[in-house]
């Protein structure tokens, strides 16, 4: 009996010991499993990159520069201040037509060029226009490329202060009436719609939609047909005209913007000659702005951005020259850079919008009116070679753009160049003269459309 009991005690003891060991092992195992890395596996979703087929390329030009307020009886009446000088070329047949401008009586019609895609794949068309005015109310150089219409455009620029008479110009080259929804981001967000009949250009005074907005940003969304939206701005300081400009859409919001061809003509310590206007479209973020020239960082600053609220910062004390500006943010932003020839009356200003990446062949039209430069910026990690040749024939040139650097090339006026880049570069055309300043980025045509990833 005692022996049995002893066996039993030992058995129970062993059992308890084993049980405790197992319980402790469980706890220790879980702790270890939490701390140690676990293997995992991840597969890639089915995806098909599809490059959208290129259609016809339609470029829409601005046409006559509009003067507002010259008729004292009808302050809102617009008159033509002048017809711009147009430079156009294409690599294939193109169809030229004109838009109707009901607001400008007897003025020249804005041109519209359609390069047909049926001939040899992609139609490359380039056109640019420039106008120099020396009137009592308008003076300076305004120049811009003719552009394709978009369903969504961002106009980052303009002002509604006294002395400005900025107009949003909407062109509808399509066959159906388009409905434009203009959403103005300022301290508060307002929205209005405008009908743009087919084949017509209309204007909307910025002040009418963005009253009270300090540094407005306007989003134009087109329904029915795509629209070309641009901003014609002019400034009068006291009584002296102080510049005119034509500004295009700033492109889609992105967390990385690159501006090329930002010009600084004079160095001024006290007034902000070069200003960057930024807005975070989705969520608040912080933008890091870097001004670069010749491969070096010249100026750096960091801008906190609130969601949907435009913010302006000035880039101070830059030496005269041509710069590139990079904006990095953690959330998509839109932006534009305002350049001025100098403080005081009689000067000119120009808004520069971000330059998208270009790879492959594009046509670049350089209009007359002022001394023109082409600014090539390569922020990437690989050296790029850009060949630039006038389409009319003539000596082309091969330009090496080392990684992280930029190159400025002089361009002949009223010439169209064929530009081919083997790596992604950002390109802008910059025009400058005495009290004359203009510039715009070169956009890829449909030839360089990015493939769309489709998840079937």
């Amino acid at each position: 009996m005692i022996q049995k009991r002893a066996i039993r005690v030992v058995a129970i003891g062993a059992r308890l010991l084993v049980g405790i060991v197992i319980a402790v092992a469980c706890v220790a195992g879980v702790i270890a499993a939490v701390a140690l890395p676990w293997p995992g596996t991840a597969s890639e979703p089915a995806q098909v990159p599809v490059t959208p087929s290129a259609g016809d390329t339609t470029l829409v030009c601005t046409g006559d520069f509009r003067a507002v307020g010259r008729n004292s009886l009808d302050a809102a009446q617009q008159l033509s201040a002048g017809t711009p000088d147009l430079t156009v070329d294409s690599n294939g047949p193109r169809e030229d037509s004109a838009l109707v401008v009901p607001e400008l009586e007897g003025a020249g019609a804005p041109q519209q060029f359609t390069g047909s895609a049926e001939q040899g794949g992609v139609a490359l068309v380039a056109a640019a226009e420039s106008i120099t005015l020396r009137d009592d109310d308008l003076s300076g150089l305004a120049a811009s490329a003719c552009r394709e219409p978009h369903t969504e455009s961002w106009l980052v620029g303009g002002a509604v202060d006294t002395g400005t008479s900025d107009l949003i110009i909407l062109s509808n080259p399509g066959d159906v009436t388009a409905t434009a929804t203009l959403t103005v981001f300022g301290l508060e967000q307002t929205s209005s719609t405008t009908l743009v009949p087919a084949g017509t250009q209309v204007s909307v005074p910025l002040a009418s939609v963005a009253a009270g907005a300090q540094d407005p940003v306007v989003r134009i969304t087109a329904a029915g047909a795509p629209l070309r939206a641009e901003l014609q701005s002019s400034l009068i300081r006291t009584l002296d005209p102080s510049g005119i400009d034509l500004q295009d859409t700033a492109g889609a919001p992105s967390d990385s913007l690159t501006f090329a061809g930002v010009q600084v003509v004079t160095k001024s310590a006290d007034s902000a000659l070069t200003v960057v206007r930024l807005m975070a479209t989705g969520q608040a973020t912080e933008a890091r702005v870097t001004v670069r020239a010749g491969g070096e960082d010249v100026h750096q600053l960091s801008v906190p951005l609130e969601s949907s609220t435009p913010t302006e910062v000035s880039l101070d004390a830059l030496e005269p020259g041509t710069y590139s500006v990079e904006v990095e943010a953690d959330a998509p932003v839109v932006g534009a850079v305002r350049q001025t020839t100098g403080p005081g009356a009689g000067s000119d200003f120009a808004w520069m919008t971000p330059a998208p990446e270009i790879r492959g062949e594009v046509l670049v039209a350089v209009p007359g009116g002022a001394k023109a430069k082409i600014h090539l910026v390569n922020p990437g990690d690989a050296d790029a070679t850009v060949s630039l040749a006038p389409t009319t024939g003539g000596a082309g040139q091969e330009i090496d753009v080392p990684a992280g650097e930029d190159v400025v090339v002089d361009a002949d006026p009223q010439t169209t160049y064929s530009l081919t880049a083997d790596e992604a570069v950002h390109v802008a055309v910059a025009l400058s003269g005495t009290n004359a300043l203009a510039g715009w980025p070169v956009w890829a045509g449909q030839a360089a459309q990015e493939p769309i990833i489709v998840y079937p």
């Binding site: 049980g19 405790i20 596996t41 979703p45 089915a46 599809v50 079937p456």
Partner: protein
């Protein structure tokens, strides 16, 4: 002068047979009236027989036959040696006649001149008091019925003189009839004696029983039925079918022939319901073989015709009548051996717990009552019609994509079952599921707890703890139908699978529940495979081979459902995708694959939301929520040292397996929601872990915590903590912290839903610009994207499946000028819907969408239906092509796969149907699995014994009343202590089985008692159990009360008895 007797002995070669033969020869020499001649037929090598002197001394000749020769054929070989005028005595090597046997037999023949055959009383060689056979008759349908087999011989049948037939062994056949009355070899070894009796009767003679003539037979002799259940089923069935074709009037033979296969099908169903799956293949074998044996049937009919003198009506009086059959019907009452473990669902308070949970559920999800459909999270509507629901569950065209024909997710089958339950509006079934989820979880948990404890209070605690699992509540408030269904199914899997080795009923039910469980959470497959292997090892180590076969069957429905999907994914090199969560892939919140995420999972919560705590109190406070789980976890850990430590440790292993599954799942990304990778939901692994946790806690409470007050305190603390933990989740619905939404009844605009009402084959191309600038393109068939139509072969696709619509989708939105409506129509697309991503839409996505709207607006051939809250919809003007019909090969694959799946599932269902016999068998054993001899006994308490001071406490945790408590507790204690009796019990039931088997008439649908073929299995099962008992129970697997030979046991059982 007595007639000559010529004995024919059929023997098989082999040493043991030879020993038996010598005993038979000895018995012959000891006969008071010795046979005049003996012919020995050896089926095989006869050398040993020839060399034996004893045989040489008595046998006039020895014939060697092929080794496969049957008894009837061997007898035929010996017939030519019989001299005219001799009666024939049919013997086998194992039939040892008692000394007066032949005298009695020949006396019987002499006494009754009309008798053509005299049959002896066969008794068991090992137990001469047990009758093996004394007379055989048959039913009106021709099934043979033993009149006295298996009974204890108390000479109670000795008055019987007449019988329709008898066992062939030991028959004495009158010389006149000898030529015509020879055993029919076509019967394949069964019913030969009955057949001889029938033929004798038709010849105007009769069969007399000579109970005085006793012959000992062993069960494995050459003339006995085969021992293997399947073989025995085959020979008895083929003999019956053969007799049917041989006896029937000529005109009825073709009709009988035609019914062979339908009858086989019908009897298959009966076999399965009767839990005799081993008889299914013999059934079909017998039917098919009999169908093609035209020659044998003709021969048998000729033999009958040649000797027939009387009409068939002459045998009618000797057939057994229905009334007699019913009188003999033994429903097995009392075969439990007194060990009745009742369920006590109502009296144990389980029903009240479920009702309470229903009240809580209605209180928590009040407004759900008025919703027609449930949306949000991973919820989608269901198909409109039952037909479409089931079409989604079968191999074929999937409800999404173009030309995607492939295997269905097994989950679609679960959804189909669910939708069918509310056939009028299947989507409402999901609302009901949500409303009933809590009570169903309590119900499931309660039943699972019956496998661990007999205490009503603890069972309720188990049910409640199961329903309050944080992972379950998270799945409820986040709208994850697969996880909710899994949590409801898991306890039933536990309830059935742990006893699957015990009975076919449990194995059948477990196999279905397992298939459904894995259908809801394929990611549990590795963990469950591990546990299954453990169970197989335990079962095999105890040599419970029948249990192992049942465990094997458990996998059959799962395999049938998953194999097509696995083959499909393996062919595409995407094997991990097999584990993908089924249903709608939703990129909802879940724990991350890092240490913080795993810590979250280890604490029982699948999301950083802590089952609503983070929303309610902020994350700082919520981080302490796992403390509320701690009491339960501590109780579960203590299970390792509880007296029932085997079960406790196994349950801890289940917890570890579940946690490992969850840890692994968060790192496996195989599913994609519109191109966004989504990890496997870890909550299902946590459900498995929770099962182990609650189970372990119950083991501790049931066996280790012996003080009633302590038990009450522990249950109260753990239960209250869990209840508090559940408060944020249960109130989430009222404070709008869930993602559940009312509807929508369709994910597509109402226009499409109306067009496709009744699940017409209307397809919609849904284009969704993605935040990264990409485009998601899918094709939805029918009125809505539905839960059942979702397919993992598309959600896990690593390359486009079916017709690739990517290029077409982009071209549609680009400037390309082409016949877009024509191309879409040729694919069968009716509508194009431009949707926007859920949640915040990026500028890229919005710009793309705006551009796409403009592009589509400008396309000719598209009619803009309008802008809806579900996107912008266009209708194609062109008439869309009909959906491609599957090719002949595809249709063949589809139907064969579907038929196989249906057959397996149907078989499992039939096995799972409880019968009176299976319910009785379940009651006969303790419901608790994995009892260990060391745990304290739960002894019956009598009212007078309950001291006043602990009466209250105990009543709350023990079964309700001492009165009801009594028999059950007594039963369980008997189960433990008197385990050694169990084998006897089983043998008893086996012994009585032939009787019960005897009365399943072919047409009987009711009350299919366990048959003779099954019960010996039980006996076989039971015996090794007690034999293997000294090895302590080491696992939850299914260990029925292991009986022990522990010498302590009697003491233990006696002591309390004495105290009482």
């Amino acid at each position: 002068m007595p007639t000559r007797v010529h004995a024919i002995i059929v023997a098989r070669p082999g040493p043991s047979s030879h020993a038996q033969l010598l005993r038979t020869i000895d018995a012959l020499t000891l006969q008071t009236r010795r046979p005049d001649a003996v012919t020995l037929v050896v089926c095989g090598d006869g050398t040993a027989a020839r060399e034996s002197e004893a045989i040489g001394g008595i046998a006039e000749s020895i014939i060697e036959a092929r080794s496969g020769t049957s008894f009837a054929e061997a007898v035929q070989l010996a017939v030519p040696r019989i001299t005219d005028g001799s009666t024939v005595w049919l013997l086998a090597h194992d039939t040892a006649p008692h000394p007066g046997a032949l005298a009695h037999l020949s006396g019987a023949l002499e006494r009754s001149p009309s008798a053509l055959i005299a049959a002896p009383k066969l008794v068991d060689v090992d137990n001469e008091r047990e009758l093996v056979s004394l007379g055989i008759t048959m039913t009106t349908l021709g099934r043979s019925v033993e009149l006295a087999a298996g009974e204890l011989d108390q000479n109670q049948h000795d008055g019987r003189d007449d019988a329709l037939g008898a066992d062939i062994r030991g028959m004495l056949i009158r010389s006149e009839a000898r030529e015509h009355l020879q055993p029919d070899p076509s019967l394949n070894g069964a019913d030969e004696g009955l057949d001889l009796g029938v033929r004798a009767r038709l010849a105007g003679g009769r069969v007399v029983l000579a109970p005085g003539a006793r012959i000992s037979v062993s069960p494995d002799g050459p003339a006995a039925l085969p021992k293997g259940a399947a073989q025995r089923a085959y020979v008895t069935r083929i003999a019956q079918l053969h007799r049917r074709l041989a006896y029937a009037p000529a005109i009825a033979v073709p009709l009988h022939w035609l019914t062979l296969l339908p009858l086989a099908l019908w009897r298959t169903v009966v076999h399965l319901i009767g839990k005799r799956p081993a008889s299914v293949f013999p059934e079909w074998g017998a039917a098919i073989v009999e169908m093609i044996r035209f020659g044998a049937v003709a021969r048998s009919r000729r033999n009958i015709r040649a000797f027939r003198r009387a009409s068939w009506a002459s045998i009618a009086p000797l057939r057994i009548t229905r009334g007699e059959l019913h009188r003999r019907l033994d429903d097995g009452h009392g075969s439990e051996g007194g060990a009745v473990s009742e369920l006590n669902f109502f009296s144990g308070g389980g029903a009240w717990a479920v009702l309470g949970a229903l009240a809580v559920s209605v209180g928590s999800f009040t407004t759900l009552l008025a919703w027609p459909a449930l949306g949000g999270g991973a919820l989608l509507p269901l198909r409109d019609t039952i037909a479409a629901l089931w079409r989604d569950a079968a191999w074929g065209q999937r409800g999404v994509g173009i030309d995607v024909a492939g295997p269905a997710d097994p989950f679609a089958g679960v959804i189909a079952v669910l939708g069918t339950l509310w056939g009028g509006a299947p989507s409402f079934a999901m609302v009901l599921l949500w409303l009933l989820a809590l009570p169903l979880a309590v119900l499931g948990g309660w039943f699972a707890a019956t496998r661990i404890t007999d205490r009503g209070g603890l069972r309720i605690f188990g049910g409640v703890a199961w329903s309050l699992a944080p992972t379950f509540l998270t799945a409820l408030i986040e709208g994850r139908p697969a996880a909710v269904l899994l949590h409801l199914l898991l306890p039933w899997l536990f309830h059935t699978a742990v006893v699957a080795h015990r009975s076919w009923g449990a194995a059948g039910a477990a196999s279905i529940v397992l298939a459904a469980t894995l259908a809801c959470a394929p990611s549990l497959a590795p963990a469950i495979a591990l546990l299954w292997l453990l169970a197989i090892i335990i079962v095999l180590s105890r040599a419970w081979f029948h249990g192992a076969v049942r465990l094997l069957w458990m996998l059959a429905p799962t395999a049938a459902l998953f194999v097509p999907l696995i083959v499909w994914q393996v062919r595409r090199g995407n094997i991990w995708a097999v584990f993908a969560d089924p249903g709608f892939v939703w990129a909802g919140p879940q724990a991350a694959a890092d240490s913080a995420g795993r810590l979250l999972l280890a604490s029982g919560f699948p999301t950083a939301d802590f089952a609503g705590w983070a929303d309610l109190t902020g994350s700082a406070v919520a981080a302490w929520a796992p403390l509320l789980i701690a009491p339960l976890a501590l109780l579960a850990l203590a299970a390792a040292v509880a007296p029932r430590w085997g079960a406790g440790i196994t349950l801890l292993g289940v917890t570890m397996a579940g946690l490992a599954t969850a840890f692994m799942a968060v790192g496996v990304t195989v599913s994609f929601a519109q191109g966004t990778p989504v990890e496997i939901w870890p909550g299902t692994g946590l459900s498995l872990a929770w099962a182990g946790l609650v189970g372990g806690a119950l083991v501790t409470l049931d066996t280790a915590v012996t003080m009633p007050r302590l038990r009450v305190a522990a249950v109260t603390v753990a239960g209250l903590a869990l209840a508090v933990c559940a408060v944020p989740a249960l109130t989430a619905f009222h404070t709008d912290r869930t993602v559940l939404t009312n509807g929508p009844q369709s994910t597509l605009p109402a226009y499409v839903a109306a067009e496709a009402r009744g699940d017409r084959e209307v397809s919609t191309l849904v284009l969704t610009p993605q935040n990264d600038g990409g485009l998601d393109a899918e094709v939805v068939w029918g009125a809505s994207a539905t839960l059942g139509a979702q397919s993992t072969i598309l959600t896990t696709a690593i390359e486009p499946q079916g017709a690739d619509i990517s290029t077409l989708s982009v071209d549609l939105l680009s400037a390309r000028d082409f016949d877009a409506p024509g191309e879409l129509a040729s694919l069968g697309i009716h509508f194009v819907l431009l949707d926007q991503v859920e949640g915040n839409e990026s500028d890229a996505a919005r710009a793309f969408r705006v551009e796409a709207v403009t592009a589509l607006d400008q396309r000719a051939g598209f009619v803009k239906v309008g802008e809806t809250d579900k996107g912008v919809l266009w209708r194609l003007e062109a008439e869309p092509a009909d959906r491609a019909e599957p090719s002949r090969a595809e249709a063949g694959v589809s139907s064969s796969i579907t038929v196989i799946q249906l057959i397996v599932l149907f078989a499992a269902l039939l096995l799972a149907i409880p019968t009176r016999a299976s319910r009785r068998a379940a009651r006969a054993r303790s419901r608790i699995v994995g009892r260990s001899p060391e745990e304290p006994l739960v002894l019956p308490r009598r009212r007078e014994d309950v001291r006043d001071d602990d009466a209250l406490d105990d009543d709350t945790l023990d079964d309700d009343g001492p009165d009801e408590d009594g028999p059950e507790a007594r039963a369980t204690s008997e189960g433990v202590v008197e385990g050694s009796d169990e084998s006897t019990d089983d043998l008893d039931s086996a012994a009585s089985a032939p009787e019960s088997a005897a009365d399943v008439p072919e047409s009987a649908t009711d009350a299919a008692p366990e048959s003779a073929t099954d019960d010996p299995e039980n006996a076989a099962d039971g015996a090794p159990e007690s034999a293997a008992a000294p090895a302590p129970e080491s696992a939850a697997a299914p260990a029925p009360e292991s009986a022990t030979d522990d010498p302590e046991q009697p003491d233990e059982s006696v002591d309390p008895e004495e105290e009482r």
